[in-house]
Amino acid sequence: MRILELALKDLQQILRDKRQLIFLVLMPVGFTLFMGIAFKGVVQKPDHRLPLGWYNQDVNGRFTEMLRSALSANPDLNLYTVKPNELAKARQNVANKYTGGVLVIPPGFSDSLLGSQPLQIELIADEYTNLGQSAYQYTRAAVTRLFGSLEIARLSTEALAQSGAALSESEKTALLPEVAAEAFLKWEQIGSSGVEIRLENATNLPEEALPLGGNPYNQTSPGILVQFTIFGLISSSAILVEERKTRTLQRLFTTSMPAGSIVLGHLLANFAVAFGQQLLLVVFGQLFLQVNYLREPAAILLVMIALSLCVSSLGLLISVLARNESQSLLASLILMFVISALGGAWFPLETSGKAFAAVGHLTPGAWAMDGFQNIIIRGQGFASVLIPAAVLLGYALVFFFIGSMRFRANVNAG
């Protein structure tokens, strides 16, 4: 009971300082968001579609619009609009092979298709490159479909006239676009309901195979969580150092509370701070950043408990070894930076090479990251966190053993 009272007193002291809210909550949340933005580029799906410029001078042209919709519907094309003042730049992009081509639709193109002298559309492309050839083929297919529809419409109206329907030339001309549009649409429907060859793009990877599972926060959320849990060492180790300084620790020893209970009381407070902070960041990551911690809640809970025990034992060790607040602060900061940097809290260890990853795994941070990422990125099950959690608990035991031994030695030395 007195262990709990001592822990509650420590928590009261820590939480009374409003500045702690900055370090425990605001800074980790801010850093998670900031680092997430930085990692966004890493996880964006690559766009393998062929860029094709669309320079349209036949505004509101009905057939032009049909051609545009046919090109837009092509999943292998990225049709983008080129404005009049951008044409020169678009040509340059073609020359530089940044884009497959630029399709130039002349003014009055749609109207010309109804007459006997249809206007030519122009494809600015490099015919000697794959890009240019592809652009030509995709454009040709769409234009063929448009012209085919138009021809069907002509033949249909002719057939209608020959079947005795009283159609004037102007009525035939008015009917032609309607029938062509109908044919164009039917063409599309035939394409989607008939036999088709389905092409799977080998570069379109499933979500979990994308870097960081397709979500940059899958790296930054657990990374910042690990970093700021270690950062919590500053406040947790400072409590015991402060107790030594104010002689309240010595006073505690004059009560009938055993030394072991005093150690456990402080450890419990450290644990509560570390666990509470993690819980907050996990909930934030799950609710606002779509980091799927709750895919395996029991596994995540185990890693959190193991990390909290590890960090709180480390806090105990620092507070016992540090002679004053400056030493405790310095040790906490150094450990935070070293463990975070080497442990993969700032960037995935997979990207750092085998040697670096091996060195990183000498720190508890790397094992904590492994535990979290096995669940949220690698999609593994509960068993995948057992080894990381066991290693973290091993660290916790070592830190606690050395810390409590030194604590007892300090007590005996007075």
Partner: protein
């Protein structure tokens, strides 16, 4: 047979080569105020720390009402309330929060705890300031909370290590009155101080410590009798004391001569007979006596008599 409240037997403590406590033995009877009097560095705080269970002795034994502080520390400590020399409080907690916390550490809970906190706040005169953080208190107020925290569990024995150091006369008076009140309520008090007036005012028994040993122990009157009828004469000189010390030591009726900060202190059997001779000795070496202070025998005289040094040395 009544067990002693505190029994210290052949207690020794060494810090490396430094022997801070050298085999001291004393007993404190239940219900008495017992003072350890001595200058800074005499070994009082080390002795107190061992009795409180803070330090392990190099040798010897301490028992609180028969319970060994070494073998049954929790049982012995449960009977102790320790007022450390330093202000051992949480500065960022209020006076009330500090008392509540220490009450809980001594095992109090619920209504009993609340009642006791109110009671102690009244005793130390801080009911009005109970919600203020200790960091905002004056030195005297902090000292009072420091004492209050040790009394939360109504200990049988209260150990006070120089509780009046560095505070204003009003707070000092308040603390001394508190100590007497506690004793009237039946608490045994072990009190350390280097102020002989405090020891004289409070104590039933006084042990005088110097350099890790108890040089004398007894009631105030018993200790005074150690110096017989000797009177203490303090002479302030216009020159260095060394010029006159040898001559004054040779005067008949002088038992001891010491000096500190230009003042020569002389212990004499009969001040009326010896004082003119002291003036003569000074005149012979062309030293002028600027002032003379004659004191009846007191604990300071006793300490001087026993150690050859002043308490304030």
């Amino acid at each position: 047979m009544t067990l002693p409240a505190i029994q210290v037997t052949q207690l020794e403590k060494a810090f490396g080569a430094l022997q801070a406590v050298k085999g001291i033995t004393f007993e404190v009877a239940p219900g008495e105020i017992f003072s350890l009097l001595g200058p800074n560095g005499a070994g009082k705080s080390t002795t107190i720390s061992i009795i409180s269970g803070l330090l392990a002795p190099t040798a010897g034994e301490v028992a609180i009402f028969g319970r060994s502080i070494l073998r049954e520390p929790n049982a012995a400590k449960a009977m102790l309330g320790v007022v450390p020399q330093d202000i051992a409080l949480y500065p960022d907690l209020s006076a009330r929060e500090n008392l509540v916390f220490w009450g809980k550490m001594y095992g109090l809970r619920g209504a009993e705890l609340k009642h006791r906190v109110d009671e102690i706040l009244a005793v130390i005169g801080l009911t009005d300031r109970q919600k203020d953080r200790v960091s905002t208190f004056s030195g005297g107020m902090k000292r009072r909370v420091n004492i209050g925290a040790a009394l939360m569990h109504r200990p049988s024995v209260v150990i006070m290590d120089e509780p009046t150091v560095g505070i204003d006369p009003q707070s000092r008076r308040h603390i001394l009155d508190n100590v007497k009140d506690l004793n009237r309520q039946g608490m045994t008090v072990l009190y350390t101080t280097h102020y002989m007036e405090e020891a004289a005012e409070l104590s039933h028994h006084i042990a005088i410590m110097d350099e890790g040993v108890i040089v004398a122990c007894g009631t105030h009157d018993e200790l005074i009798r150690l110096v017989g009828e000797q009177t203490r004469i303090d002479l302030r000189l216009n020159a260095e004391a060394e010029k006159v010390m040898a001559g004054m030591s040779a005067v008949k009726g002088v038992s001891k001569v010491t000096s500190l900060d230009g003042t020569v202190t002389v212990l004499v059997d009969d001040s009326n007979r010896v004082l003119p001779r002291l003036f003569e000795v000074a005149a012979q070496v062309s030293v002028r006596i600027l002032s003379v202070d004659i004191q009846e025998p007191n604990l300071e005289t006793v300490f001087l008599h026993l150690t050859g040094r002043a308490l304030r040395d």
